[in-house]
């Protein structure tokens, strides 16, 4: 029986095989966003793609939907290679993507007309889809008059109206308030369970761990830079799921461990003063790093990673970046999923603003990128360094990284410690005045 859990062999609906995808950066260089990804979606399951920002999960969703053709690899639908769009897919967008000049009814009706339905049939079907998501009475309103949650209901009605075989949800609740999101999650599961094959499967993209444990049968954990499948976790919890049941909490915990284990290994490669590797700089502000240290200090020097994320209302991927950055600068340590303030971090917090800058610079100069830049700046007669020169250094040593982002972070961190300055107009780095010999 189908209710008894996941059957071992189920028809494969949709699949990617060894997919690698590259974007072309403005200067023509390729940036690899996905690497060697293989993934199958079976009939009758809810699959979630979970990962930090920059892991290419939305790109993967668009590849499966046929909106993007991958640079390498194959996309299959019912065992047939996709030529163009996935014929069974409909997408619910993060930004709702409703047409502001069409009413709720028209927004749904146009996709049915585009699908070739005659006007009266489209009208009736749109009406039914709108009723299905609980929006009857709002048919004649324009999207700008609706709340975020109601807009997303229109997005759902639009997607469901074409009877898709797979429903793609691209971070559907991240722009909806928390309580509304809660009810939408339950409703989507109900709709899917009652749908008799339309949709048969749901593929969602998310960065919220509790959300995917609540919704998904299989959770695909992606790593970033470039995006790759770290592991796939099966979720056999019976529905309806209870957020506070021990099994639920246990699975959330397990996912926490898997993610921190991958993203913050307990033995990070030691950063020595003479290290030869270039360290990619996580794209965070210096103020966020200092904020993390202050936060930890106010909690006796340690806190759990996911607790930090929920306390600060930040996406855990971003909190992860902040923690990585702090670890890179030797301010914190990360045993398992705890974040612990180091002695260096404590010294930093105790120091006066001036002394803080000194400690900050000292830590920056342990990173090779800053050291090299500093060396060149001191050697040059006018103590300036062209932006393009630095970009080339980054591209040469960290070809996988987005050099623009790294450069921006470099400038921000360096400015904070007054290590060097940057002139936007001339696009040159320079030593600050007082330190020029």
């Amino acid at each position: 029986m189908a209710e008894s859990g996941v059957l071992p062999t189920r028809a494969i609906l949709c699949e990617v095989r060894e997919v690698t995808h590259e974007f072309t950066l403005p200067n023509g260089r390729p940036l690899r966003v996905l690497e060697n990804i293989s993934l199958t979606i079976h009939s009758g399951e809810v699959v979630a793609l979970l990962g930090p920002s920059g892991c290419g999960k939305s790109t993967l969703l668009r590849i499966l939907a046929g909106l993007i053709r991958p640079t390498h690899g194959l996309t299959l639908y019912h065992d047939q290679a996709l030529q163009g769009l996935n014929p069974g897919a409909a997408i619910v967008f993060q930004s709702f993507a409703l047409y502001p000049w069409l009413t709720v009814r028209e927004n749904v009706r146009v996709v049915l007309t585009a699908a070739g339905l005659a006007a009266r049939a489209a009208e009736e079907k749109a009406e039914r889809a709108i009723r299905r998501v609980g929006l009857s009475g709002f048919e004649g309103t324009y999207p700008r008059e609706l709340s975020g949650g109601m807009k997303q209901r229109v997005g759902m009605a639009r997607a469901l109206s074409v009877d898709p075989e797979i429903l793609f949800l691209d971070e559907p609740f991240s722009q909806v308030d928390a309580l509304t999101a809660e009810s939408l999650r339950a409703e989507i599961i109900d709709l899917w369970a009652a749908a008799h094959g339309h949709p048969a499967s749901v593929l969602m993209v998310s960065h919220d761990i509790a959300e995917v444990v609540y919704m998904a049968d299989r959770i695909v954990i992606l790593g970033a830079n470039p995006g790759c499948v770290r592991t796939i976790v099966e979720n056999h919890l019976p529905r309806p799921r209870d957020y506070r049941s021990p099994e639920f909490l246990h699975l959330v915990d397990r996912l926490h461990d898997i993610i921190t284990g991958h993203e913050l290994p307990d033995q990070p490669p030691p950063v020595e003063p003479g290290s030869i590797t270039y360290e990619p700089l996580p794209p965070v502000e210096s103020a966020e790093i200092v904020g993390l240290l202050e936060y930890l200090d106010a909690r006796r020097g340690k806190e759990e990673l996911f607790r930090i994320a929920s306390d600060t209302h930040r996406e855990f991927g971003h909190v992860l970046n902040i923690v990585e950055a702090a670890e890179l600068l030797n301010f914190v340590d990360t045993p398992r999923r705890m974040v612990v303030l180091d002695t260096e971090g404590q010294n930093f917090l105790k120091a006066t603003p001036e002394a803080r800058k000194a400690i900050w610079c000292e830590q920056l100069l342990k990173l090779r990128l800053f050291r090299e830049a500093q060396a060149i700046l001191q050697k040059e007669p006018d103590h300036t360094l062209d932006r393009d020169h630095v970009l080339e250094m980054i591209v040469l040593h960290m070809p996988q990284e987005n050099y623009e982002t790294i450069f921006r972070t470099l400038v921000r961190w360096a400015r904070f410690g007054n290590l060097f300055n940057y002139d936007e107009a001339t696009e040159r780095l320079m030593l600050p005045l007082e330190s020029t010999p």
């Binding site: 668009r62 939907a65 046929g66 909106l67 019912h78 030529q83 163009g84 769009l85 014929p87 069974g88 897919a89 409909a90 997408i91 967008f93 993060q94 930004s95 993507a97 047409y99 502001p100 000049w101 069409l102 146009v110 996709v111 007309t113 585009a114 699908a115 070739g116 339905l117 005659a118 006007a119 009266r120 049939a121 489209a122 009208e123 324009y142 700008r144 008059e145 639009r158 074409v162 009877d163 898709p164 075989e165 339309h198 936007e424």
Partner: protein, 584 residues
């Protein structure tokens, strides 16, 4: 029942019928009258246009004849606008959807924009005259095309720009739900572009009227062309020094502009509000008395009912659709060029190379001395353009700030300024020339004022828009810290409106270049006054049918304008975006 006269029976029956269908009400009667008038007008126009070839019409200076002329001018303007709209839709769509064509079409548009009206005149006129040798149609169409060249370009740029800035997710919806290109155009692209297109249409109409006088009465070689219209009326009035007729013409022009604003643009702007993209309903609701009134008409209501009914009925055909599984229709996005696109591109390239070849042949007759003279004249006009832009900034910046920062003032003055700005400045030139002569100022300097008259509005409009967009918190901070008026100007107002000011400068300078051909060469009471500059040279070359010199002058002007845009204005834009953008 008996003995009722026949007319009475008919009368009663008619009354009963009207009562049944409820076709009563003033709006309906007026709409019928207007439609009838329009029909009569079109018939009249047809007669005039297909009438025997008569390039130099005799213009009567009676106010009654002016009514007639106003209608003719209006018809030319509207026809030119219709052509502009068609051109915009095709050209903009093509440029936005075909990467390869885009690389030619957009720079070409930039060049077309910098060519003054008279630069198009000889080619267009000769071609159309030879096409319709025996009727007025050729000359009339040439006039329409000249008005068109004053209207089309900025609309096209706006449409192209809109198409290129549609949010990705909205396009993805169209792709994933398999909109055909037509559905994509009518549900996504056109709605997204409508608002920008409407504003630019209003500007374009004003741009078209600007050259009305020159588009309706011009001299090419020894032939004098004069078409019945307000522009010709005005030039005849000026020639004969009839002040009363000049005033009548000015009045008619104002009346036409106000009527167009109230009966056409206002309703369209109000209607277009439904295509607003930004969220939130805080934007003040716009109103149009005419649109409200029109919507009350039974006739319009019946039409709308019929249309909705037709849409639904059309759907009852036997078409059915299987949604899943479905075969793949069109691929998501055609990256390459379609066959039609390629053909069009080849045709365009052929035309362009032919045009270039013709130009080269023509330019061989230009002597070195003439080239030198042209370059010098270009320098003179450049100086005037910059001076007029600077002068415009001097008064429009403070005035624009004053209006834009005060909600009361902007509500009161915006409509007035709009009408003032759409008024074609060249029609005021004769009055100004009289004043200049009285003051003993030569046209060399006076033409700067004439240019200013036409282009100051662009600066004013943009500054007003910029001032209105200054966030309230920044203004509150300035008040809270007791910044003096001068400090406030330097620290807040000037930087905040700078991006808008740059836009104003670019448009004003472009307008001033075009205006130079009417500002540097003026006929007043039968006597030709001219300044030393490129505009005067173009005007003279056209009048004496010296086509090689005309081509050289137009070419130099286009080169200077495009180069100046690239080298100077673009830097200002960059600066504005980098340092003074409030959106970052």
């Amino acid at each position: 029942m008996a003995d009722l006269p026949a007319w009475r029976i008919i009368w009663e029956e008619t009354k009963a019928r009207f009562a049944r269908v409820r076709l009563l009400g003033w709006p309906d009667v007026l709409i019928m009258v207007a439609l009838g008038g329009l029909l009569a007008g079109v018939l009249d126009l047809g007669q005039e246009w297909t009438g025997p070839h008569r390039p130099g019409a005799d213009i009567e200076l009676s106010p009654w004849a002016l009514l007639h002329y106003t209608f003719y001018s209006l018809a030319r303007g509207m026809l030119a606008y219709a052509i502009s709209l068609g051109f915009t839709l095709v050209y903009g769509y093509w440029a936005a959807s075909d990467r390869r064509a885009e690389r030619i079409l957009i720079p070409l548009l930039d060049i077309l924009q910098s060519i003054p009206v008279l630069g198009f005149l000889p080619g267009v006129l000769l071609a159309l005259e030879s096409l319709f040798p025996s009727s007025n149609l050729g000359v009339e169409l040439a006039s329409v095309v000249m008005i068109f060249t004053g209207q089309a370009w900025n609309m096209t740029f706006s449409f192209y720009h809109s198409l290129r800035t549609i949010p990705t997710d909205q396009l993805e919806v169209a792709t994933i739900f398999r909109f055909s290109w037509w559905q994509r155009l009518k549900w996504v692209q056109l709605p997204f572009a409508t608002l920008g297109l409407v504003w630019n249409s209003m500007m374009s109409m004003a741009g078209g009227w600007f050259f009305l006088m020159i588009s309706e009465s011009f001299r090419l070689g020894d032939e004098d062309f004069r078409l019945p219209g307000i522009g010709s009326y005005m030039s005849v009035a000026v020639e004969q020094g009839r002040v009363d007729a000049m005033l009548w013409a000015l009045g008619a022009m104002v009346l036409m502009i106000v009527a167009l604003d109230q009966l056409l643009w206002r309703p369209v702007v109000v209607w277009a509000q439904k295509f607003r993209v930004e969220e939130g309903g805080s934007v003040a609701e716009m109103e149009s008395w005419f649109l409200t009134w029109l919507r009350r008409a039974q006739l319009v209501r019946a039409l709308r009912r019929w249309w909705r009914h037709r849409l639904l009925r059309r759907g009852n055909g036997p078409r059915t659709a299987l949604l899943t599984p479905r075969a793949n229709p069109a691929p998501p996005r055609t990256e390459g060029t379609s066959f039609v696109g390629l053909l069009g591109l080849l045709l365009l390239l052929g035309l362009l190379s032919y045009g270039c070849w013709q130009l080269v042949v023509l330019l061989q007759d230009v002597t070195l001395a003439e080239w030198g003279e042209t370059a010098l004249a270009a320098g003179g006009t450049l100086g005037r353009v910059l001076l007029s832009t600077a002068l415009g900034t001097l008064w429009a910046l403070p005035a624009g700030l004053a209006v834009g920062l005060s909600p009361r003032l902007s509500r009161l003055l915006q409509p007035v300024i709009q009408v003032l700005a759409s008024f074609p400045a060249p029609m005021l030139f004769p009055l100004l020339i009289a004043a200049l002569r009285w003051g003993g100022i030569s046209l060399n300097w006076g033409s700067i004022l004439l240019m200013l008259l036409g282009t100051q509005w662009y600066i004013l409009f943009n500054v007003i828009a910029g001032a209105m967009a200054i966030p309230a918190d920044l203004r509150e901070a300035a008040t809270g810290y007791r910044l003096s008026r001068w400090q406030r100007f330097r620290v807040l107002y000037l930087p905040a409106v700078f991006p808008y000011l740059v836009t104003g400068w670019v448009t004003a300078a472009g307008g001033a270049w075009n205006a130079s051909i009417v500002a540097e060469y003026v006929t007043f009471k039968g006597e030709a006054l001219q300044a030393w500059g490129l505009g005067a040279q173009i005007n003279q070359a056209a009048e004496h049918a010296r086509f090689p010199l005309l081509a050289a002058s137009v070419l130099v002007m286009a080169v200077v304008v495009v180069a100046f845009n690239r080298l100077v204005w673009r830097r200002f834009y960059h600066l504005a975006e980098q340092r003074f953008s409030l959106s970052k």
